[in-house]
């Protein structure tokens, strides 16, 4: 029985909690990509850099607050800076739309051209971030780091295995729940949300029924800004902030959005968790788990690892390819909000 509990704790500590955390970050990111895709109808390659930009502004203001000795005690200071980061990200989104994307929308350009344009935007934001903050790795989480340390847990329960719970993980999960609830409530219940869904479903019909497209696009960028900044900050808070990482993060985010069914917000969230859990589960070495759960005669000699952790990144793409082959429209049929 003790062995069974130990094995459960191992799974919880190394797979489930990191999976939910990483999955939440991906889900919020993928939700942003999906919004752009459903309303503006293009794959936004700049999304990772927008996330990074939001995180950067948050970091700058975190430093400012820290220098002024303003803090939240046990909570990270970044939480006070986050609203300012969100505001800056929204402004960035609106500016990039006004000066860049709007023109192509009025021209009714094909999606590929808009994707190319977003690559240009990606380069520009990328450069701005590097010029302002450099390329160093930045750790900006302060406050109490752990809610529960592995050692405390061991003493508390008397088990062999420890369960560590970082405060950044709990913050990520709580913020994700709040943000997702709000987004879905907004889409389903408010008039603006409904008009956005109508616009995404059938643009011509929506225009005929008097929906103002510029307003819908504006609201979309506001939502995208909020989601991107939160996702970027949470990722940076949990791991550490490194400008280069966000370009690599775009790929799992796209994978999540497509796997869930691009254009479907619920699908994007599910896709985020699917990608996160498969990345972690495929590359985790299960030796410890089997040591507890199997009788000692059957104990595995190797690491019992399907793929080495080096391939963590490749997993999300293999899943993407498999899903596209078996069910091209994603898990939840996409294309509509």
């Amino acid at each position: 029985m003790i062995d069974f509990l130990n094995s459960v704790i191992v799974l919880l500590n190394f797979i489930i909690i990191p999976g939910i955390t990483y999955g939440s970050q991906l889900a919020i990111g993928a939700l942003g990509v999906t919004f752009v895709y459903a309303i503006l109808r293009f794959a936004n390659f700049a999304h990772g850099e927008i996330m990074s930009f939001g995180a950067m502004i948050t970091i700058l203001f975190t430093w400012f607050f820290q220098s002024q000795n303003i803090g939240l005690g046990i909570l990270p200071t970044a939480l006070i800076a986050l609203p300012i980061g969100i505001l800056a990200t929204i402004i960035l989104c609106i500016i990039s739309d006004k000066f860049v994307f709007q023109y192509y929308r009025y021209q009714k350009s094909v999606p590929v051209v808009l994707a190319m344009v977003s690559i240009g935007v990606m380069f520009v934001i990328n450069a701005i971030i590097r010029i302002i903050i450099g390329t160093e790795t930045i750790k900006f989480s302060d406050g109490q780091k752990f809610i529960m340390k592995a050692k405390q847990f061991k003493i508390m329960t008397g088990l062999n295995e420890g369960l560590a719970l970082k405060s950044s993980q709990v913050i990520t999960i709580l913020i994700t729940i709040a943000l997702l609830t709000f987004t879905f409530w907004f889409l389903q219940k408010t008039k603006t949300g409904k008009s956005m869904r109508a616009f995404s479903d059938n643009e011509d019909l929506a225009l005929l029924s008097g929906i103002n497209p510029d307003r819908v696009v504006f609201i979309t960028w506001v939502i995208v800004g909020v989601l991107a900044c939160v996702a970027g900050t949470l990722y940076g808070l949990d791991k550490s902030y490194k400008p280069i990482i966000y370009l690599n993060l775009v790929l799992p985010i796209f994978a999540s959005a497509i796997v869930g069914g691009i254009g479907s917000p619920f699908g994007a969230v599910v896709g985020g968790y699917v990608i996160a859990f498969s990345e972690i589960m495929v590359t985790y070495a299960y030796k410890k788990f089997f040591v507890y759960i199997l009788p000692s005669s059957l104990e595995p000699s190797g690491l019992v690892q399907l793929l080495s952790t080096d391939y963590k990144f490749a997993v999300s793409f293999s899943i993407l390819v498999i899903v596209l082959l078996i069910r091209p429209s994603g898990i939840f049929k996409g294309r509509v909000l």
Binding site: F42, A43, V100, Y103, P111, V112, V113, A115, M116, V117, I119, G120, V121, M122, F123, V124, I125, N126, A127, I128, R130, I131, G134, T135, L247, L251, F254, A255, I258, S308, D310, Y311, F313, A314, S316, F317, S318, L320, V321, L324, L325, P328
Partner: protein
């Protein structure tokens, strides 16, 4: 056969004068280094241009195909490591044969089992079982290979042939990978295809990074043999010394003192050998570039090229005319990838080393795409022009930025924090330039600087 318009001649003249200008300002060695990379970039750009410009097939997997070309350079030119072959050659061979058997089995199941659900179940069972068996042989073999002298070897080595053959082999390697990708993904809509090819190229690079028995992974392969002479050998060759003496005879004759003259001559020989090596590379690369350019143009003007344009402009109509769109898409995707693979092998040849961790999408996929868009998709000369101009500005962005920043902040103290910070971040301004160039071109000249010619024939 090829007739250039006046503005095309202007473009060519601009490209040439850029290098002459740099040659006089920064020295011929710098100019030639930039020129060589420009030529390679131009070949990559032509590869992308063929699939995107001719047929509208998007290929964001440039990085992966370049890496395959680089792998080809290693496999062709590195001398074979017999100990590694002894240690793990059989294991690798067995796992390869098993892999072929597995693939055949899956293909057979797909053909023989008609019920969809049964097919999935059978496939899953066969694949999982097959992978477990292969892993057993494979892991043992790779481990023993990687244990052989890990500091300098630890991989299988290559064939020990001249590296120039790898340019063709690299094309075939990239084509092979492209064939698989194309079979899987080409049915997708263009922006999906972009994401999928981008992702698969990441997978290719991560395989090369971590399969040490094959490519030495992050430990890099260094000391690949050159197709051109080494500087140190040149400096001791009679004909080269005579050539340098002859070229600089008037300058040397003015120096009276014998030891002074010898000193000057030695310096000239050292400089000259470097330039000679770079020049030989440039000649080799230019030859390849012109060959590809010639055939690409010829293909574009042929009935096949016309069919490709028809498919690009209206897929449904082309399909209705009886053209096999899926097959043609696959063909053009593979051809484009093969040319990129050639460029990848050339890149490794020029560097003399293979560093899998150096393949990053920003540098090796997106920049190439900017070259295509800026140059003019659908026009081969445009592709070359884009490759030259963008690579040139990529390199020259740093000195230019330093100059501009120094001018703008001339009034500030040399220890001013803002000035120092800006000067520190000079390397990042090139990303800004690239982004702005791309956005400006897409906005004001969406067909590129040298647009595709509309042919009414």
């Amino acid at each position: 056969m090829m007739k250039f318009e006046r503005y095309e001649w202007v473009a060519i003249a601009i490209m040439i004068s850029l290098f002459i200008f740099v040659g006089f300002i920064q020295g011929w060695s710098v100019s030639l280094v930039i020129l060589n990379m420009c030529i390679i970039s131009a070949i990559m750009t032509m590869g992308v241009n063929i699939s995107w410009g001719y047929a509208g097939v998007i290929n964001f997997g440039v990085m992966g195909f370049l890496a395959m070309g680089g792998l080809a350079a290693v496999i062709v030119s590195y001398p074979p490591i017999t100990e590694s072959w002894k240690a793990g050659g059989t294991g690798i061979g067995i796992s390869f044969i098993l892999l072929v058997i597995l693939v055949t089995a899956v293909m057979y199941i797909n053909k023989a089992v008609t019920d969809k659900r049964n097919r999935y179940i059978f496939n899953t069972i066969v694949i999982i079982f097959g992978i477990l068996v292969i892993r057993y042989f494979y892991l043992n073999a790779t481990e023993s290979i990687e244990d052989v002298n890990p500091a300098i070897a630890g991989f299988l080595g290559g064939l020990g042939l001249p590296i120039i053959f790898s340019w063709i082999v690299g094309g075939f390697f990239a084509a092979g990978v492209a064939f698989i990708i194309g079979k899987v993904a080409l049915g997708l809509r263009s922006d999906y295809l972009a994401i999928v090819t981008l992702g698969i190229s990441e997978i290719v690079v991560s395989v090369l990074k971590h399969e040490e028995w094959l490519s030495r992974g992050v430990k890099n392969v260094i000391g690949l043999k050159r197709p051109v002479p080494y500087e140190i050998n040149l400096q001791n060759t009679d004909w080269f010394i005579n050539l340098i003496t002859y070229l600089n005879s008037s300058k040397l004759n003015n120096i009276v003192d014998v030891s002074d003259r010898q000193q000057v001559l030695n310096n000239l020989i050292i400089d000259g050998s470097g330039i000679f090596v770079k020049l030989s590379y440039a000649v080799l690369f230019l030859t390849v570039m012109f060959i590809i350019f010639y055939f690409a143009n010829k293909a574009q003007l042929s009935p096949w090229g016309r069919m490709m344009r028809a498919i690009r402009d209206n897929e449904t109509a082309a399909n209705a005319m009886g053209k096999d769109v899926v097959k043609q898409h696959l063909i053009i995707f593979v051809i484009g990838a093969a040319i990129v693979g050639v460029a990848g092998a050339m890149l490794v040849t020029l560097d003399g080393l293979f560093t899998p961790s150096g393949y990053r999408p920003l540098r090796f996929t997106f920049i190439i795409w900017i070259m295509v868009i800026v140059g003019g998709s659908g026009n081969n000369l445009g592709a070359i022009f884009g490759g030259f101009v963008i690579w040139f500005s990529w390199i020259e962005a740093a000195p230019l930025t330093t100059f501009i920043i120094n001018q703008l902040t001339a009034g500030l103290e040399p220890t001013n924090a803002l000035k120092l910070h800006l000067l520190d971040s000079v390397p990042y301004f090139r990303y800004l330039f690239m982004g702005l160039i791309l956005l400006l071109i897409l906005r004001y000249r969406p067909k590129g600087i040298i647009p595709e010619k509309v042919r009414h024939s």
